[in-house]
């Protein structure tokens, strides 16, 4: 029990944060349904029909919708489709931290030194995460119930609990899979490889809805078993067998992870290539890059920047490939074809690409910025900043160098993905304005810098809480764009979201006001960060 309590304590901020995210996501969706779907049965059926036509095309990424004329069906599609991804990301971060991060910090060594067996240590982490995930999933269910009450309806508690069990099962299966993968490779590669495995399993299931050749393999993906249940929808059901498979994956992967953990040395990978030890070196690296400000930061991040650039470019190309697949069925609906022709001035494919790709690219660039800010916070809490500042560099210089490195990194990612979109669009015969594509891709840089500037300010003041606060802000900003128009929020509130400020540059060109506001946030944020940094204690 002590080990479980310790694991819960180590993960308490994750529990609190994801419970908050879960509650907020489902509540906003539930309340949003009542705001936009109308009040009569006829209005809701009409809403459900029209929304289903659009929603069915998003099944490339999200599970197919059911009964969108009901709050339950709507939240199941909009809320729980995304929650699966959010909880999987939580499982990734939590499990890779438990498997390798705590090991790097020496915590696992100390825990095992108390006499706790490795099997029990892993079991305690899995049990603690299961508890935390269930509590967070219950919070999400509570959001549905409270949203229903706000809309003047009652929602069956048993279905809300089934939804919580389903999300918990998925999160737990992802957690155990990450625990297993993290045992196989070196600590520095664990999170990346486990993330790639989860992403692969997610895409395997998602893309199998579009590409028939993948259907024979989708049983491998836990996301497949997740989407077999739709407990919130009146026509849906809770598939006990599929949910048990998810728990089975959790138990099986957990057992294999335990076996691997028992067989490997602490700090090492289960699978490692034997390298021959060369003669010792007493010379410092003579590479010039270490002596050049900014370049040294980029060089230090060369692997992660390459992974980000290639990864984002691959996803970008995939979106371009899928654009026609997704849009053409919509064009077959006579009313919608007319609607698209009027609304999008005939440029249907570019408009769709703008909406779906650049919407997703913003999320990715926000994620990139947050990972870099996380690194700044880690520099502070791990003591690297103290050692950096023991050199003759000013604190302002540190802030500026961080900003420039992040900006150039974002530029690289945006440029590579822009080129990928351009090339693939040409292959797919989607007419894109090259200038607009370049503008839209470049606009991702100030967009990323907005998160970086806010992160820099937070990292200078509250390094330990930075990532949590910035993550919540990013999530709230994204929801603001989704729900601001539904709830008729004032423009100035919606403009607090960088996603709103970004606009639709591929179709409409750059929104200069939005760009100016973003640049203002960037300048003020980094300037304030430099001032706060100047005044604060480091290493205290």
């Amino acid at each position: 029990m002590t080990a479980i309590r310790l694991a819960l304590r180590l993960g308490r901020w994750g529990l609190i944060g994801f419970a908050g995210v879960g509650f907020f996501a489902t509540f906003v969706n539930a309340a949003g349904f009542y705001a936009i779907a109308g009040h009569t049965q006829a209005e809701r059926q009409a809403f459900g029909r029209s929304f289903a036509q659009v929603a069915s095309q998003l099944t490339v990424l999200l599970p197919p919708p059911s009964r969108l004329d009901t709050m339950g069906g709507y939240v199941q599609f909009r809320g729980y489709g995304s929650l699966a991804i959010v909880f999987a990301i939580w499982a990734l971060a939590s499990a890779s931290g438990a498997a390798r991060g705590d090991e790097e910090r020496g915590l696992v060594e100390m825990i095992l030194a108390t006499g706790l067996s490795r099997a029990r240590a892993i079991a305690a982490r899995i049990a603690a995460f299961a508890f935390a995930a269930f509590v967070a999933a219950l919070a999400a269910s509570l959001g549905v119930i409270v949203g229903a009450i706000a809309g003047g309806e009652a929602f069956p508690i048993d279905r809300a609990i089934e939804a919580a069990v389903l999300v918990t099962a998925l999160a737990l299966s992802c957690y155990s899979l990450v625990l297993l993968v993290a045992q196989l490779v070196a600590p520095r590669a664990a999170t990346g490889l486990a993330g790639a495995v989860l992403l692969g399993l997610f895409l395997l299931n998602s893309l199998s809805r579009t590409f028939d050749s993948l259907t024979t393999l989708r049983w491998l993906s836990p996301f497949r078993y997740y989407e077999l249940s739709q407990p919130l929808s009146p026509d849906g059901s809770f598939d006990v067998q599929a949910t048990l498979v998810l728990f089975g994956i959790a138990v099986g992967a957990g057992a294999l992870a335990t076996l691997a953990f028992v067989r490997r040395d602490l700090g090492s990978a289960l699978i490692s290539l034997r390298t021959s030890a060369g003669p010792p070196t007493y010379e410092p690296s003579r590479a010039l890059v270490w002596r050049m400000p900014v370049v040294r930061g980029l060089y230090d991040r060369r692997i992660s920047l390459t992974v980000w650039s290639v990864g984002v470019a691959v996803v970008a190309a995939l979106f371009v490939v899928l654009t026609k697949t997704m849009v053409q069925p919509l064009l077959a609906i006579p009313g919608l074809a007319q609607y698209f022709a009027v609304l999008m001035h005939g440029a249907i494919f570019p408009s769709f690409l703008s909406f779906i790709w650049f919407g997703f690219a913003q999320l990715l660039l926000a994620g990139f910025a947050i990972t870099q800010v996380a690194r700044w916070s880690a520099e502070d809490t791990d003591g690297r900043l103290e050692l950096i500042l023991s050199n003759p560099v000013s604190r302002t210089q540190v802030v500026i160098e961080r900003a420039v490195v992040l900006g150039l990194g974002a530029l690289l990612i945006a440029a590579v993905s822009g080129v990928a979109v351009g090339i693939e669009a040409q292959n797919e015969s989607i007419p894109l304005d090259a200038g607009r594509l370049a503008e839209a891709s470049l606009l991702l840089v100030p967009f990323a810098l907005v998160f970086a500037a806010l992160g820099a300010l937070l990292a200078a003041r509250l390094p330990r809480a930075t990532i949590g606060i910035l993550g919540v802000y990013a999530f709230a900003s994204y929801l603001m764009v989704q729900f601001g128009p539904i709830f008729k929020l004032p423009d100035w509130i919606q403009n607090l979201s960088p996603f709103k400020l970004f606009g639709q540059p591929l179709i409409d060109g750059i929104d200069r006001t939005g760009l100016l506001i973003m640049l203002a946030i960037v300048i003020v944020g980094f300037a304030a960060s430099a001032i706060v940094m100047q005044r604060r204690d480091v290493g205290a």
């Binding site: 790097e104 600590p187 520095r188 700090g267 060369g278 010792p280 070196t281 007493y282 010379e283 410092p284 690296s285 003579r286 590479a287 270490w290 002596r291 050049m292 400000p293 040294r296 230090d300 791990d382 003591g383 690297r384 103290e386 050692l387 950096i388 500042l389 023991s390 050199n391 003759p392 560099v393 000013s394 005044r535 204690d537 480091v538 290493g539 205290a540």
Partner: protein, 306 residues
Amino acid sequence: MPAAAIRTSKLSKDYGLGRGLFDLDLEVLPQEVFGYLGPNGAGKSTTIRCLMGLIRPTLGSAHIFGLDCFRDSVAVKRKVGYMPGDMPQWGSMRGKEVVAYLGGMRGGADPKIVRNVAERFDLDLGRRFREYSSGNKKKLGIVLAFMHRPDLLVLDEPTGGLDPLNQQEFYKLVGETRDAGATIFLSSHILSEVEHTCDRVGIIRSGRLVKVADLDEIHRIRLHRLELEFSPDSEVPEAAIRSAAGVEDVVVSDHTVTCIVRGAFDPLLKTLSGSTVTNLVSHEPSLEEIFLTYYKHDAPSEAIGP
């Protein structure tokens, strides 16, 4: 007259609840090796972080070679080599990359010194930081602090984690660096360590400087707790031991004697000449014990209060 290498005036950092650093007046002369001695939590690292401009003092000032440690922190750090108490994590970076990264940031790092120090401590710079043992991490900290021939070295518990041979090598390096004209300010919580290397020692306790002593006084402060076992057929010279100069707190139990020896061992050893001693163990008491014993006899009681 040249500026003091380090000068603090009423330097204070108040963390509340009596924790922190209070009214520190300290002067370290150029080319001096100054030991900063105190138990854990006494305020050594706080003092060092104030000197490095990492934390802002609540009151008072700190100057290095006449430069204000906070206002002129960039200029100060050009002259200083710093080694933190705990080396931060550099993950998968290799030792040589850490040296190049921080050396590039600082400028003026001398590859010859890097090679020399790394060789002396047998530190393989080709290995990744996460593969280093705690001793190797300390050695990397030593390389980073010495690599640019600083005028002043500020070293926070530099020998913790080093084995005795490397400790000796470190003491030699400190001596050579001092002889080359540098000033060294090093903190420790072990009296015998600073005794090896330092010209003067400042003793800090509960955030207050309680004593600045030169080497002679250090020897006087220094004491050992001894445990002597006599052969069953040998008489214990209890009276002689009790009356020996520098011997205190004598406790006799059967054929075992425990006592504290202050200063030289010679007077005690002379009392044992007619007896058969089967075992003799000497412990260096903790700094706290030394303080308590020292102040019980030699200092006004108010001097040790916080």
